[in-house]
C-alpha cells in the first residue's frame, strides 16, 4: 500500500541517521520496512457460492465492468483489481520451482500482459473452462479513486458447495487477506454449509463482512437480513451484515443519483472497506513506529553512554561499572540467544509432531468410518460413485480443520519466542507467511480396480470345477457299492457341490472387493497424509526460518548496540579535554535529533487514520 508521506519520511529520516552512525545492521532493517511500505496492498477477498453476484459486486464497487458477469457462466480464475494510472491486465501463471526448500525459488512466476477486452476469455468458465490455461490469477489495474488507497479486490470463483475441495483452497488463501467479503444473495437465509464456512474463515481472517446482494429483487430482503443476523449471533460470528444492490448502484452511477446510491447500500460497504484500509494503515503505522522507536532507542543508548563518559571522565568508577553492566548485558543476551533458539527449535518440533498427529488421527477416524461403511454396504463397487466423493469430502474437511489449527499454533509460537526479547523492550513480531501449496490437487483420486462379476462362462467353469470334484468323489465311493462312476448319486452330489462352489466363489469375490475398497481408502488417506504432511512440514520449516531470521537480526542489533556502548565508554577515557567539549556538544545535538525521531515515530500512531475518498 502506498503509505502516507509522513510515514515514509519518518523511515527515511531514521535511515539517514543510522547510516551516518555507520550502523548497517539497523539500516538493513529500516530498508526492509521501507520496501514493505511501497508494495503492500490491502487485499480484500470476495468469496461465496456460485451465482451470488460476486463479480457484479466487484464491478459495481470499482465502477467498471471488469469481471465478466453472466446468467449462467461462472468465474473460473481469481481476478485481483487494484489501482493503476491506466487500465492494465496481467495474466499470472505460477509454477512450483525445482527447489521447494528455497523460498526465493519455490515459485516460478510467469506474467503476460493482456487487454481488458480479452479478460472474459481468461477468467470465465466459457473461455477458460476449469481453468485450462493454468492461470493462478489475473491482475487488473484500474484508475478508480476507491482503489487509490491501496485497496485490492479479489473476485474468486464460486465455491461449489462450501464443503468441497475448492472451499479448502479458498480457506488457504484467507490468512493473506486483510478482509473478506462473504457474498450471499437475499433469496434465502444462510445455509448450514455457509455458516460452517464462516466459522472456519473467522479464525483465519477475523475481519469479515457478510454482504447480502440483490436486495432490489427481493421484497422480503429485510426478513432475510434479520434471519441472517440471528444465524450469525447464534453461530458466534461477529461480522457486519451489509445489504447491497449492484443493479441500483449502476443505475445510480448512470444517473448520478445520490439518493439511489445510498439505497444501493454501497456507501456503507465503501466505508467498511475504507475502515479496513484505515486499519491496515494503522497496522503499518504501528509497525513503522515500533521499528523506528526501536532503532532510535538503540542509537540513543550508545550516545547516552558516551555522553556520560565524556561529561564525567573523572568518575572512572561509573565508567567501570558501565562497562561491567554492558558486559553483563552481553553475556545475558548470548545466554538468551541460546534460550530463544532452544524455544524455537523445541516449539517447531512439538508443533510438527502435534500437527502430524492431528492429521493422522483425523485420517484414521475417516478410514475407520469408511471401513465400517464398506462392511455394511455390501458390494462396494456398486456404490463407489457416491462413496468416493463422500470420503473425499470428509478428507477435505479434515485437512482444512488441520490447516486452521496449524496456522493458529504457528502464530502462537511466534509470540512465545518473542517474549524472550521482551526485557529489551522489543516485542516485535515478524510477518508470518503460512500459506500452503495446493497439495490437495496432487493427491491421486481414489480408484477401485475394476473387476466385474464373473460372466456366464466363468460361472459355468466355477460350477463345473466344484461339480467335477463332487461327481468324482461320490462316483469313486459309489463304485465300491458296485455302481458306475456316473450314477444318479454322484451326479446329484456333483450338482450340489457345484452350486456350493459357485456361491462360495461369489462370497469370496464380495469379500475381495470389500478388501479392495478398504485398501483404496487406505491408499487415499495415506496419500493425503503424505502430501498434506509434506505441506505442513514445509510450512513449519518456512515459519521456523522466518522466525529464526527475524530474531537473529533482533539479537544482532542488540549486540551491536552494546558493543557500541562498550567502545565509546573505553574511548571516552582516552579523549583529551579539548576535544571533549566539542564532542559533548555534538553528542547532545545527536541525542536531540534522535529524540526528535522518537517523537515523530510516536506521533504516527497517535494521528488518527484519515478516511479515504469513496
Amino acid at each position: 500500500m502506498p503509505a502516507p508521506d509522513v510515514v515514509i519520511q519518518t523511515v527515511e529520516d531514521a535511515l539517514r541517521m543510522v547510516t551516518a552512525r555507520g550502523r548497517t545492521d539497523l539500516a538493513s532493517r529500516l530498508r526492509k520496512t521501507k520496501d514493505r511500505l511501497h508494495d503492500d496492498r490491502v487485499r480484500v477477498l470476495v468469496i461465496g457460492e456460485f451465482k451470488q453476484g460476486k463479480s457484479q459486486l466487484v464491478n459495481a464497487l470499482v465502477r467498471a465492468r471488469v469481471c465478466p458477469v453472466d446468467d449462467d457462466i461462472a468465474t473460473s480464475v481469481p481476478t485481483a483489481v487494484y489501482y493503476s494510472e491506466k487500465p492494465v491486465v496481467t495474466l499470472v501463471k505460477e509454477e512450483p520451482g525445482a527447489d521447494p526448500d528455497d523460498d526465493s525459488k519455490a515459485i516460478r512466476v510467469e506474467r503476460t500482459e493482456a487487454s481488458l477486452e480479452d479478460l472474459a476469455r481468461y477468467v470465465s468458465e466459457m473461455g477458460n473452462p476449469a481453468n485450462r490455461e493454468g492461470l493462478s490469477h489475473v491482475e487488473v489495474g484500474l484508475p478508480t479513486p476507491l482503489l487509490q488507497s491501496g485497496l485490492e479486490l479479489v473476485d474468486t470463483p464460486g465455491v461449489g458447495g462450501l464443503g468441497s475441495v475448492r472451499a479448502t483452497a479458498t480457506l488457504a488463501a484467507l490468512p493473506g487477506a486483510d478482509a473478506v467479503l462473504l457474498v450471499s444473495d437475499a433469496a434465502q437465509e444462510y445455509t448450514a454449509a455457509e455458516l460452517e464456512f464462516l466459522k472456519h474463515a473467522m479464525k483465519l481472517c477475523p475481519n469479515i463482512a457478510c454482504i447480502l446482494t440483490k436486495i432490489d429483487l427481493y421484497p422480503e430482503w429485510r426478513r432475510i437480513y434479520e434471519l441472517n443476523q440471528e444465524h450469525l449471533t447464534q453461530a458466534g460470528v461477529t461480522a457486519q451484515l451489509i445489504p447491497v444492490s449492484s443493479v441500483l448502484r449502476w443505475h445510480a452511477l448512470d444517473r448520478n443519483d445520490n439518493e439511489l446510491n445510498v439505497e444501493s447500500g454501497f456507501p456503507v460497504l465503501a466505508t467498511m472497506l475504507t475502515n479496513t484500509v484505515g486499519q491496515a494503515e494503522l497496522l503499518v503505522r504501528r509497525a513503522v513506529a515500533n521499528t523506528v522507536a526501536g532503532v532510535s532507542e538503540q542509537l540513543s543508548r550508545g550516545l547516552q553512554s558516551e555522553l556520560g563518559v565524556q561529561e564525567h571522565p573523572e568518575t572512572v568508577e561509573s565508567t567501570v561499572s558501565d562497562l561491567r553492566a554492558a558486559k553483563e548485558r552481553m553475556t545475558a543476551l548470548r545466554e538468551r540467544g541460546a534460550r530463544w533458539q532452544q524455544t524455537l527449535a523445541d516449539g517447531v518440533a512439538d508443533l510438527a509432531a502435534d500437527i502430524d498427529y492431528d492429521l493422522r488421527d483425523r485420517m484414521r477416524d475417516i478410514q475407520r468410518n469408511a471401513e465400517e461403511e464398506i462392511d455394511v454396504l455390501g458390494d462396494p463397487s456398486v456404490v463407489w460413485v457416491e462413496f468416493a466423493p463422500w470420503v473425499e469430502e470428509q478428507v477435505a474437511g479434515a485437512s482444512s480443520a488441520n490447516f486452521v489449527w496449524a496456522n493458529e499454533r504457528a502464530r502462537f509460537l511466534a509470540t512465545v519466542v518473542a517474549e524472550h526479547f521482551a526485557e529489551d523492550g522489543e516485542l516485535s513480531l515478524p510477518d508470518l507467511d503460512v500459506g500452503v501449496g495446493g497439495s490437495m490437487q496432487a493427491v491421486r483420486p481414489m480408484y477401485l480396480s475394476d473387476e466385474g462379476d464373473p460372466n456366464l462362462g466363468e460361472k459355468a467353469l466355477i460350477a463345473v470345477r466344484g461339480g467335477y470334484i463332487g461327481t468324482l468323489m461320490f462316483g469313486m465311493f459309489s463304485t465300491f457299492a458296485g455302481l458306475a462312476l456316473l450314477n444318479p448319486f454322484s451326479v446329484g452330489a456333483g450338482l450340489l457341490l457345484g452350486g456350493r462352489t459357485l456361491r462360495e466363489e461369489k462370497k469370496r469375490l464380495l469379500q475381495r472387493r470389500q478388501a479392495e475398497a478398504k485398501n483404496a481408502v487406505r491408499r487415499y488417506t495415506d496419500d493425503v497424509v503424505f502430501h498434506i504432511g509434506k505441506d505442513s512440514r514445509d510450512m513449519l520449516r518456512r515459519v521456523q526460518r522466518q522466525l529464526r531470521d527475524h530474531f537473529t537480526e533482533v539479537a544482532t542489533e542488540l549486540e551491536t548496540s552494546l558493543q557500541d556502548s562498550l567502545r565509546t565508554a573505553e574511548a571516552g577515557a582516552r579523549t583529551n579535554s579539548a576535544d571533549r567539549e566539542a564532542r559533548i556538544g555534538e553528542l547532545k545535538r545527536e541525542l536531540a535529533s534522535v529524540a526528535g525521531l522518537q517523537q515523530q515515530a510516536r506521533a504516527l500512531v497517535v494521528t488518527p487514520a484519515k478516511a479515504g475518498a469513496v
Binding site: D71, G163, E220, S245, L260, F387
Partner: protein, 545 residues
C-alpha cells in the same frame, strides 16, 4: 450418513440376472404343479386405456395386484406385514405420488401451489415448511396430523386471504410424522403431491426429516416419483440426488426424477428476459452427462409467477391496470427495486394504488412478475383471465405439467407397481414364511418379465451411460422407450395428428432399423440386447394398432 441408504441398492443393478437364474427352476416347477392362482381369483383389471395411451399394455397393475393379494392371504396372521401389504394394495388404486424435494428456499411450496392452482401450501420469505405434508384429492377439505407416536387428529381448516393456514396446534414439528391435506381439486386427481422440508437447512433436524422421508431405511419409498427443485446446480444438490437414486430407483436409474430449475425469474437479477436465460441454462444442464444420469429432464419454472398466475384475483388485475395507465417514466423509476415499488409516494406523484396494495402486489408477483405484467396490460390485455393465462404461459409451468404427465402420470401404474413390488420384496425377505420363496419368484418374474419394467430399466441404463449408444441413436432409443412420453406418436417422434397409417409405417421402419442393430454381429452385447428390447417395444406398438 448418505451411505447407509444405499445398502439395498446393489441388488437392483445387477440383481435381475441373478434372481432369474436362482428362481427360474422353481418357478417352472410351481407353474407345472400348482394351478396358476390367477385362475382361482377374479382380478379387477384396470379399464382399457385410449388407443393413444400406453401402447404396450400387459396389465402390469393386475399382475402386481394378484401377487399382493396372494401375499395378503399368506401373511393374514402377521398383523404388521398384512397391514403394509393392504396399504400397497390401496395405493395401486390411488393416484401416483410425487414428492417435491429440494434445498431450503428452492420454492417447493410455491411450485406445489402453482400445480394445484390454489394457495394451500404456506409460503414465507424465511424457511417455512417444517413437516412432510401430503396433498390429496378428496370430496371435502380435511387436515389430519399424524404424530410420531401413531396418534392422529384433525386440525381446523383456516383460510385467510385465500391462503390456507397450516398450524400444528401447538405440537412441535419433530413430533409430527406428517400432515395430510385432503382438498377437492381436479389437479390433484391425477397425482398426490408431497411437500417436503428443505435439505441443507441451517437447522439440522429439518433436513434430516426430509432425508428420512425420501430415503427411508425400510424399502418402502413413500413416493413413486420425485420433482427435484434446484436454484443453480450445486455440489450439495448432486450429492442428494445421487443418494436418492442409489436407494429408491431401479438400479440407480433416473427414470422417476424430473429436475426443475426453480425461481427461474430471478436469474439475471430479474431482467425481463430472465426466462430465456433460464431455458438456455436448462438445456445446457439437460445435455450434461452427470445430470442426464440423475434425472429425466430439466425444466425451468418461474414458480412465483406460475402460482400467482393460477391464483390471480380481479382486484390485483385492477391495481396493475391502474399502475400500467400511469406515467410510464415514473412507473419505470419505481420498478428499479422492490423497495421503491412498495414505498409511500411523495407529494405531486401521479395517482396510484396505495403503498399497501403495491407491496402486496410485489409479494405476489415479484419484481419480475410486475415488470412483465405491466407491458402486457399496456399492449392491450384487458381482463384478468387473459393476463393470468399469459403469466402462466411465460412461467414455464405448462412445460412442467406436460413433463409430469408424460413421465409420471401416464406411467403412473408402472411406477406404483414398481413401488409396490419393491415393498413386497422387502416384506417377504424380512418375514420369511413357507410360501415366501414362491411369492419372491413371482415378484422376480414380474420384474424381469414385464416389458414395461424392462423398458424402464433400459431407459435408466441409457441415461446413466451403462449402455453406450451413439448420440442420435441414444436419443431415438430413449424416445421409443417412452423417455419423453408414453403416447405412440411421441415415442415414434410424430406429430399428434399423425394418422394410423403414418404410425404404422414409422413403427415398422423403427423396428427394422433396430432389428438390424440387434442382429448385427458387430454390435456389442449390451447394444444388441438394448436393440432387442426396442424391437419388442415397436412390436408392441404395431400389435396395439
Amino acid at each position: 450418513m448418505i451411505l447407509r441408504r444405499s445398502k439395498k441398492n446393489k441388488k437392483d443393478g445387477k440383481g435381475s440376472d441373478e434372481y432369474s437364474e436362482e428362481y427360474s427352476e422353481e418357478n417352472e416347477n410351481s407353474a407345472a404343479e400348482t394351478p396358476p392362482p390367477a385362475a382361482v381369483r377374479e382380478v379387477p383389471v384396470p379399464a382399457a386405456r385410449s388407443p393413444h395411451g400406453t401402447p404396450v399394455s400387459t396389465d402390469i397393475c393386475g399382475q402386481v395386484r394378484l401377487v399382493l393379494q396372494q401375499a395378503a392371504e399368506v401373511y393374514a396372521d402377521h398383523a404388521e406385514a398384512a397391514e403394509r401389504i393392504e396399504a400397497h394394495l390401496d395405493r395401486l388404486d390411488s393416484p401416483v405420488r410425487i414428492a417435491i424435494a429440494g434445498k431450503v428456499k428452492a420454492g417447493k411450496s410455491t411450485l406445489l401451489n402453482a400445480l394445484v392452482g390454489e394457495v394451500i401450501a404456506p409460503t414465507d420469505a424465511g424457511e417455512c415448511t417444517r413437516v412432510v405434508t401430503w396433498y390429496r384429492n378428496a370430496p371435502a377439505p380435511r387436515i389430519v396430523m399424524r404424530r410420531r407416536d401413531g396418534e392422529s387428529n384433525d386440525l381446523p381448516i383456516i383460510r385467510q386471504n385465500g391462503r390456507l393456514e397450516l398450524g400444528l396446534g401447538g405440537v412441535a414439528p419433530e413430533e409430527v410424522d406428517r400432515l395430510t391435506v385432503d382438498w377437492p381439486s381436479g389437479d390433484l386427481a391425477t397425482m398426490t403431491l408431497i411437500d417436503t422440508p428443505g435439505i441443507a437447512s441451517a437447522s439440522v433436524e429439518v433436513s434430516t426429516r426430509t432425508e428420512d422421508f425420501l430415503t427411508p431405511d425400510e424399502e418402502q419409498g413413500a413416493a413413486d416419483a420425485i420433482v427435484y427443485l434446484m436454484r443453480h446446480v450445486h455440489a450439495d444438490d448432486m450429492g442428494f440426488l445421487e443418494a436418492f437414486h442409489a436407494h429408491a430407483a431401479i438400479g440407480s436409474s433416473p427414470v422417476n426424477t424430473v429436475a426443475v430449475l426453480s425461481r427461474a425469474d430471478e436469474i439475471g437479477a430479474g431482467r425481463v428476459d430472465a426466462l430465456q436465460s433460464a431455458r438456455a441454462i436448462a438445456s445446457r444442464l439437460r445435455a450434461d452427462e452427470k445430470i442426464r444420469s440423475l434425472c429425466q429432464t430439466v425444466v425451468p419454472v418461474a414458480g412465483l409467477l406460475a402460482e400467482t398466475g393460477r391464483t390471480m384475483r380481479q382486484a390485483e388485475f385492477n391495481a396493475l391496470a391502474a399502475i400500467a395507465a400511469a406515467d410510464r417514466d415514473y412507473v419505470d423509476a419505481m420498478l428499479l427495486s422492490a423497495d421503491r415499488f412498495g414505498r409511500e409516494l411523495p407529494e405531486g406523484a401521479p395517482e396510484l394504488p396505495s403503498a399497501a396494495i403495491r407491496s402486496a402486489l410485489m409479494t405476489r408477483f415479484g419484481l419480475f412478475g410486475v415488470r412483465i405484467a405491466l407491458p402486457l396490460i399496456r399492449q392491450g390485455i384487458t381482463d384478468s383471465t387473459a393476463l393470468a393465462g399469459e403469466l402462466v404461459r411465460r412461467s414455464g409451468l405448462e412445460e412442467l405439467r406436460e413433463a409430469l404427465t408424460a413421465l409420471f402420470t401416464e406411467r403412473g401404474d408402472l411406477l406404483k407397481a414398481r413401488s409396490a413390488l419393491m415393498a413386497l420384496d422387502s416384506i417377504l425377505r424380512s418375514t420369511p414364511l413357507a410360501e415366501t420363496d414362491l411369492l419372491l419368484a413371482q415378484v422376480e418374474k414380474i420384474f424381469s418379465g414385464a416389458h414395461e419394467f424392462v423398458e424402464l430399466a433400459l431407459l435408466g441404463s441409457l441415461r446413466t451411460g451403462a449402455v453406450a449408444l451413439p448420440s442420435e441413436q441414444r436419443a431415438e432409443a430413449e424416445r421409443l422407450l417412452g423417455g419423453t412420453g408414453q403416447a405412440q406418436f411421441v415415442r415414434l417422434g410424430l406429430a399428434p395428428t399423425a394418422s394410423l397409417q403414418e404410425i404404422r409405417e414409422a413403427a415398422t421402419d423403427a423396428m427394422s432399423r433396430w432389428r438390424r442393430r440387434a442382429e448385427n454381429p458387430a454390435s456389442a452385447r449390451p447394444v444388441a440386447d438394448a436393440a432387442r428390447v426396442i424391437v419388442r417395444t415397436c412390436e408392441g406398438i404395431l400389435s396395439s394398432l
